[in-house]
């Protein structure tokens, strides 16, 4: 079943059209990734889905219900949680308070307690620092907190904006391990935007490649990993040249 359906959205930052007609679908229970370089419009797509940016054109449907042009807090209530780029946690609150903010809209105490438990289990570090101020934690821990806070809303769909940004390689690996667990254990559908294409393609079942605000390629992760352009431009696998080193890049074709 299609959980999220985005059709022909166009979003602007002031006069600049950041996404120029994007359509995509996310199947329930899957992990889908959007790859793209700086300024491709990845973040804008997520912000448009979660209602932070209003699309100029196009529609967004969650389980068949239109959610575009809805206020962000209403969208959260419908089951979409957003892990923004750069964490954006509440620095002056404790870790526990941060997590409880994630469950702000929920009333079921029991459920919240259970989820808090689960969050601590997923990220044991957070349990140890539950009463510490969030601002005093390392970047990796803050990222974990941001993810944990989002799952506290018990979302149907989790939007993740570059969870690997600024993290050490080992930490990236463990974060992606957790992402996979959230998907498998909680049956949470995840739409993840990444620059670390290899990690993203390894956990996702399906992927889109975004360039200049347009989708240029879509396919299953396995197929994408075999694509010549994805290999060269996103996975850094370069063809051999007679000199051994090849600095120039051929033109992208996306086919």
């Amino acid at each position: 079943m299609v959980l999220l359906r985005v059709s022909n959205i166009e979003s602007y930052y002031g006069p600049i059209m950041a996404i120029r007609g994007v359509s995509l679908g996310v199947q329930e229970g899957t992990i889908v990734t959007i790859l793209g370089g700086n300024g491709a419009g990845k973040t804008t797509i997520l912000k448009t889905i979660s209602g932070v940016i209003e699309p100029e054109k196009g529609t967004i449907e969650l389980m068949g219900e239109r959610i575009d042009r809805m206020m962000p807090h209403k969208i959260v209530r419908l089951g979409i949680a957003h892990v923004p780029e750069g964490r954006e946690i509440f620095y002056d609150l404790t870790v526990r308070e941060n997590l409880m903010m994630g469950a702000f809209l929920r009333k079921d105490r029991k459920g919240i307690q259970a989820d808090l438990h689960m969050a601590f289990e997923l990220f044991p570090v957070l349990k140890n620092r539950a009463s510490q101020l969030a601002g005093n934690m390392s970047g990796g821990e803050q990222q974990m907190l941001a993810i944990a806070r989002a799952i506290m809303a018990r979302p149907k769909l989790l939007l993740m904006d570059e969870p690997s940004l600024g993290l050490a390689p080992l930490l990236v690996k463990s974060i992606f391990g957790v992402i996979k667990r959230i998907n498998q254990d909680n049956k949470t559908t995840i739409l993840i935007v990444e620059q670390n294409a290899l990690m993203a393609l390894l956990v996702a079942q399906y992927g889109y490649v975004l360039e200049m605000g347009r989708i240029v390629l879509e396919n299953t992760s396995e197929e994408l990993m075999q694509n010549e352009d994805v290999k060269e431009f996103y996975l850094g696998i370069k063809g051999e040249s007679a000199r051994g080193t090849k600095r120039w890049r051929r033109k992208k074709k996306w086919r």
Binding site: G21, R250, W254
Partner: protein
């Protein structure tokens, strides 16, 4: 400073457009101009976003160093030098340097694959390979073991090659140094070698992408190039204040003449476009007085304008419609009725021009254009009409590599739509019994390099068999029907000229290119390449979801849109000539692909082979 400029231009007026009889080879003409024009600007190149002037003196110095450099590396008379680069001043330095040193220039398209590079290098037996950059260097390194004659590889831009060394490779800068050293040792050498090439000598070899079989090397002499430019300028005089934009590949005869030879005659300034993608912006910045382009470019401008008008306010739309109707009337009087428009119409046109047309010309960047030219491929007459209405004097020329470029063109004020004009001075055109166009005159090429057999089949009794079919109308204008080989004979025995239908299809803003198929078939079909930008815009506006280019070509609404365009075209043709079915090409083809010619046309045979499945689909009963 101001005064000096004036004098220079004053002197030029005497010279421009003409050459004395002793300037009968490209090197002699070139060097005469370098000495006469010295500090005058020859080129402009954009460096880090700023247009930089390059004088004739610098052009001359560089070409001289290249000539002497190549000579000290062992270039003898008649040796071939290959240049593989996008258009940039170094291309012309290398070209002139080679010609001055008595060598023969062979241009290779920078988009060619290593395999194609190997073929051309092998076929022409070039001993030098002048490469634009790392990318072009890598092409030759991969295939050089198959090229025993290759002596040196010269790299223009050494970026990224700091740690690379190879006994066969050197930089362009080093080549210039070697040249300067030789000049210091033997100061008189240059003046001597420049006199060596004779007018009838081979100057350049142009490889034409054969639609069947491997590319053929057309041999062009000094005399060929100079005589076509002489004739051209007799009809279309230039002036030293001319500005041109060079962006079509210099490997192609059209651009080689207009950026290489024409400036030496008129003093026209060549502005190098940065990239193919930046051409629309470059035109606006340069505002050329002469603009030469292939139909694809004219089609693109047109569809951009049409779509822009769709987004405008009702008042703007009304104004545009009115202004265009006035423009149409004026061009009708001038070009089709050969009458002067009435004074009332003249005033009306002034008003339309001032309020609307001028701004549109400015928007494209052609507000200063004296004349524009479409060549290298057939163009729809409706498109020419459109530009004439805008007040842009656009003309069509016809020719081929084998005739050293243009042999016919529309004379000033004698643009007859649907024809390619009259023969240039000193050229003769005849129609063979089977309708094939024959060309005679000083522009006939010297034959195909290393292929006497093919040469004999192409030039018979002093006539060039063009392979095009056409006729001469009652006013002496040449009308091209099609390529002889492309004419479709349907299963019903009806002769159909596909290019006529294709041109009508291409006129649609949503269709980029099309190939009509139907030889020995019951009905006609077409493979259509959509204009992705405009079709995407349409999809966006009509909320047609799509993701990739391929998915766009499969959207039922888009197929319906194209069907509507095809239906429109079908109305203009007879029943047997109508397109019964079509398929959209689902890959986005670019200049880098083999399926597209350097002048941005689809290659009929390659496309038909590659998309055979799509074609077969259309003939399934």
């Amino acid at each position: 400073m101001e005064k000096k400029k004036e004098v220079a231009i004053g002197n030029l007026k005497v010279l421009t457009g003409f050459r004395t009889a002793d300037l009968n080879t490209v090197p002699r003409l070139f060097w005469n101009r370098v000495e006469e024009w010295g500090d005058r600007t020859a080129f402009r190149e954009k460096v880090y976003g700023i247009w930089r002037d390059i004088s004739w003196r610098e052009y001359g110095d560089k070409a001289k160093s290249v000539a002497l450099g190549l000579r000290s590396l062992g270039l003898g008379k008649g040796d071939r030098v290959a240049i593989i680069s996008k258009n940039k001043p170094e291309w012309l330095y290398s070209d002139m340097g080679t010609l001055v040193a008595g060598g023969i220039t062979v241009g290779i398209y920078p988009t060619d694959s290593p395999k194609q590079v190997e073929y051309v290098m092998n076929h022409c037996g070039a001993i030098f390979y002048i490469a634009e950059d790392e990318e072009q260097l890598d092409k030759i390194l991969g295939v050089r073991k198959e090229l025993p004659q290759l002596k040196k590889i010269i790299v223009i831009d050494p970026k990224g090659l700091r740690h690379f060394s190879d006994t066969m490779a050197m930089t362009f800068k080093e080549l210039l140094e070697i040249g300067k050293n030789l000049d210091n040792q033997e100061p008189n050498l240059f003046d001597k070698i420049i006199q060596v090439p004779r007018p009838e000598d081979l100057a350049i070899i142009i490889y034409t992408s054969g639609t069947t079989g491997p590319p053929k090397g057309a041999m062009i002499s000094h005399q060929n190039m100079l005589s076509v430019v002489d004739s051209w300028l007799e009809l279309n005089p230039g002036s030293p204040t001319d500005e041109a934009l060079t962006f079509l590949p210099l490997c192609h005869i059209l651009e080689r003449l207009f950026s290489g030879i024409v400036p030496m005659m008129t003093g026209c300034i060549c502005n190098f476009a940065e990239e193919m993608d930046t051409v629309p912006q470059d035109i606006r910045e340069v505002s050329p007085t002469i603009f030469i382009a292939v139909p694809r470019i004219w089609e693109k401008f047109y569809s951009t304008l049409v779509l822009k008008m769709k987004d405008s306010t009702p008042l703007e739309k009304l104004a545009f419609k009115w202004a265009m109707s006035v423009g149409r009337k004026v061009s009708l009087y001038r070009l089709e009725l050969h009458k002067k428009p009435s004074n009332y119409l003249k005033i009306l046109f002034k008003l339309a021009d001032w309020t609307v047309l001028k701004n549109i010309r400015k928007f494209i960047g052609l507000d200063r254009a004296k004349y524009c030219l479409s060549g290298a491929a057939p163009i729809s007459p409706d498109l020419l009409r459109f530009y004439q209405c805008l007040g842009i004097d656009i003309r069509e020329a016809y020719g081929q590599t084998e005739s050293t470029g243009a042999v016919t063109c529309h004379y000033i004020g004698d643009t007859k739509f649907g024809t390619v004009g009259k023969p240039l001075p000193r050229n003769r055109i005849e129609i063979a019994e089977d309708g094939e166009i024959l060309i005679g005159g000083p522009q006939l090429f010297m034959g195909y390099y290393n292929d006497p057999q093919l040469t004999c089949e192409t030039i018979i009794n002093g006539w060039l068999y063009t392979g095009d079919v056409g006729r001469i109308d009652e006013d002496g204008h040449l009308i091209i029907t099609d390529r002889k080989k492309d004419i479709i004979i349907t299963a019903g025995g009806k002769n159909i000229t596909p290019s006529e239908i294709e041109n009508q299809l291409k006129f649609s803003p949503y269709i980029n290119d099309a190939i009509v198929i139907g030889d020995r078939k019951k009905y006609l079909t077409a493979l259509i390449m959509i204009d992705d930008e405009n079709v995407m815009k349409y999809a966006q506006e009509n909320r047609i979801p799509f993701t990739t280019y391929a998915s766009l070509t499969k959207a039922p609404e888009i197929i319906k849109l194209i069907q509507k365009e095809v239906d429109e075209v079908n109305k203009k043709f007879a029943q047997v000539e109508s397109i019964k079915k079509f398929q959209l090409i689902d890959v986005k083809l670019t200049e880098d692909d083999d399926e597209i010619t350097p002048t941005m046309k689809l290659k009929r045979r390659l496309i038909s082979r590659k998309f055979k499945d799509l074609i077969d689909e259309m003939y399934k009963s």
